[in-house]
């Protein structure tokens, strides 16, 4: 594991500048569709023709991954699932795996959380209950089933620390000090703590320093973990930001239908991704 930096947050011009700083081949940690996805940067990554990304679902993935996979930006995915929720299977992920176009490292949700927590604590691995007896272990040579060192009668799984190159998510607020506010989505803090670099888009900039506000501080991720931030209006759309705007279920269903075929996916790309202005939903 490499040592992690203490940042002075950079204030970037927008989603395109964040996308430009995420290198091809990066191990990129992304949240699930219900937890503050930086969709505007995902679209910017597709526009800049990012290649060979290795996605890490913390702990599952949805629309963001399906778009990146369909657009040819992804070489490998480590995740516990990829799904569009009520809208069904993620069609571009499904086809890419069935045609062997991408590699999947199948995991189970708490293994990913634990692997990030190991990095967060600076230790080489974390023990995890359950999981033994699952075929997941057969394809995960990096996971180890061992005798419990404190009780030789039982066995336990060890998952190695996982250090993403880049964590990427959206936030409701950022402030002048470079802190970001994610409210109750505090699992995003673990991802930021464990990643070499963290980029965050935000809806609104607040004056001052949120850490000076006793009520806001518990939902804040400190600037020490934040590499760069950029403003993006409705930056999670068509996904949501709790308390501000909900998931655009109609749009996600429309995507799920369109992406059933490559042609439909390409038409969706042309309309909603490759033309930057169209990618903003009507408020």
């Amino acid at each position: 594991m490499s040592a992690l930096p203490s940042n002075r947050t950079s204030f970037l011009s927008g989603p395109e500048e964040i996308a430009a700083q995420i290198p091809d081949g990066a191990l990129l940690a992304l949240p699930p569709d219900y937890s503050l996805v930086a969709m505007e940067v995902v679209r910017a990554l597709i526009r800049r023709k990012a290649r060979s990304l290795r996605l890490l679902g913390v702990p599952i993935l949805g629309l963001s991954a399906d778009l990146l996979i369909g657009a040819g930006c992804v070489e490998e995915v480590e995740t516990s699932a990829v799904s569009l929720g009520e809208a069904g299977l993620a069609p571009r992920f499904t086809e890419a795996v069935e045609k062997n176009l991408i590699k999947v490292k199948d995991a189970t949700c708490p293994a990913i959380h634990s692997a990030l927590q190991a990095t967060e604590k600076g230790v080489p691995f974390m023990p995890l209950g359950g999981v033994l007896g699952s075929d997941l272990l057969k394809s995960r040579n990096d996971w180890r089933e061992v005798e419990n060192p404190l009780d030789e009668k039982s066995r336990i799984l060890l998952v190695p620390a996982l250090q993403p190159d880049v964590a990427l998510f959206h936030a409701r607020w950022a402030d002048e000090a470079g802190n970001v506010w994610v409210g109750r989505r505090r699992e995003l803090a673990t991802t930021a703590h464990a990643s070499k670099r963290t980029y965050v888009t935000f809806e609104e900039k607040r004056a001052g320093d949120m850490l000076e506000d006793e009520l806001l501080a518990p939902g804040v991720i400190s600037s020490i973990y934040v590499t760069g931030i950029a403003q993006a209006d409705r930056g999670a759309w068509p996904l949501g930001v709790a308390g501000l705007y909900g998931i655009d279920d109609t749009h996600v269903s429309r995507y799920a239908k369109a992406a059933q075929t490559r042609e439909g996916f390409r038409a969706y790309m042309d309309e909603w991704v490759l033309t930057p202005r169209k990618s903003f939903s009507p408020a």
């Binding site: 699930p32 219900y34 937890s35 702990p59 599952i60 995740t79 516990s80 699932a81 990829v82 799904s83 929720g85 009520e86 299977l89 993620a90 992920f93 499904t94 795996v97 069935e98 999947v104 199948d106 995991a107 189970t108 949700c109 708490p110 293994a111 959380h113 995890l128 209950g129 359950g130 999981v131 033994l132 007896g133 699952s134 075929d135 997941l136 109750r184 989505r185 505090r186 699992e187 995003l188 673990t190 949501g240 709790a242 308390g243 909900g246 998931i247 279920d249 269903s253």
Partner: protein, 225 residues
């Protein structure tokens, strides 16, 4: 079938399996188990229901990590799991079958062995979904029951085999046998599944429908308009 939706019947069947439980959590894409849990809560106000992906007022303040941690501590006693395939050993497969790819194992590999009351739920009851042996074991454990669109099975811990307890209205013992790919025992008191009571339907269509709609809008529209 009576004057009720199939989803309402299945929710009633699942709700009857929740007696004495303190806390059920509902994972991804599980509107019928969620409906069942809220229905049961109407009869047991102390019963806690955690929708992991609840969009507003989510009770988890550390995301899904907190759900798995509280399961590890023993604070969760009911969870629902499904599968692209479920076999006669009660193993589930959420990853791959016949060259087809499914979403993935989610938290099942961890939760199945550690949550005391796991209820397997799969609406499609066919030889495609209920197989002799799964192609990939996402998770194995000891379930409390298996509920499908045709039947209710209990799990016999000592024999490690399912036992058919009831078949739903519109199905039959022969229909269940013909559409199940694994072998199972049949209860000596095998009967048709009890239909939803009028009172249950009233609760489902009012209070429960309002609780479900914000997180499962398509499902709520389909079932309750």
């Amino acid at each position: 079938m009576g004057p009720y939706a199939k989803e309402e019947l299945l929710a009633c069947v699942v709700a009857r399996l929740l007696g004495g439980a303190r806390h059920a959590a509902i994972g991804a894409s599980s509107p019928i188990p969620a409906t069942a849990a809220f229905l049961h809560q109407c009869n047991d106000a102390a019963f806690r229901v955690t929708l992991q992906q609840r969009r507003a007022a989510n009770p988890l303040t550390e995301g899904s990590r907190e759900l798995f941690d509280l399961a590890g501590q023993g604070r969760l006693d009911v969870f629902f799991l499904g599968g692209a395939q479920i076999d006669g050993e009660a193993s589930i497969n959420l990853v791959t079958a016949d060259g087809r790819r499914f979403p993935g194992s989610f938290g099942s590999a961890y939760l199945y062995p550690i949550v005391p009351r796991v209820i397997l739920f799969r609406e499609e009851h066919s030889r495609r979904t209920l197989v002799p042996k799964v192609d990939f074991v996402s998770a194995r454990g000891t379930p409390a029951a298996l509920v499908t669109g045709k039947a209710l099975f209990s799990w016999q811990r000592d024999r490690r085999r399912f036992r058919l307890e009831s078949f739903h209205p519109g199905s039959s013992a022969q229909d269940v046998r013909a559409n199940t790919g694994f072998d199972y025992d049949a209860s000596s008191s095998l009967a048709v599944t009890r239909e939803p009571a009028e009172e249950e339907l009233k609760i489902l269509r009012n209070k429960v429908a309002r609780q479900i709609a914000p997180d499962y809008p398509d499902f709520a529209r389909r079932v309750w308009g």
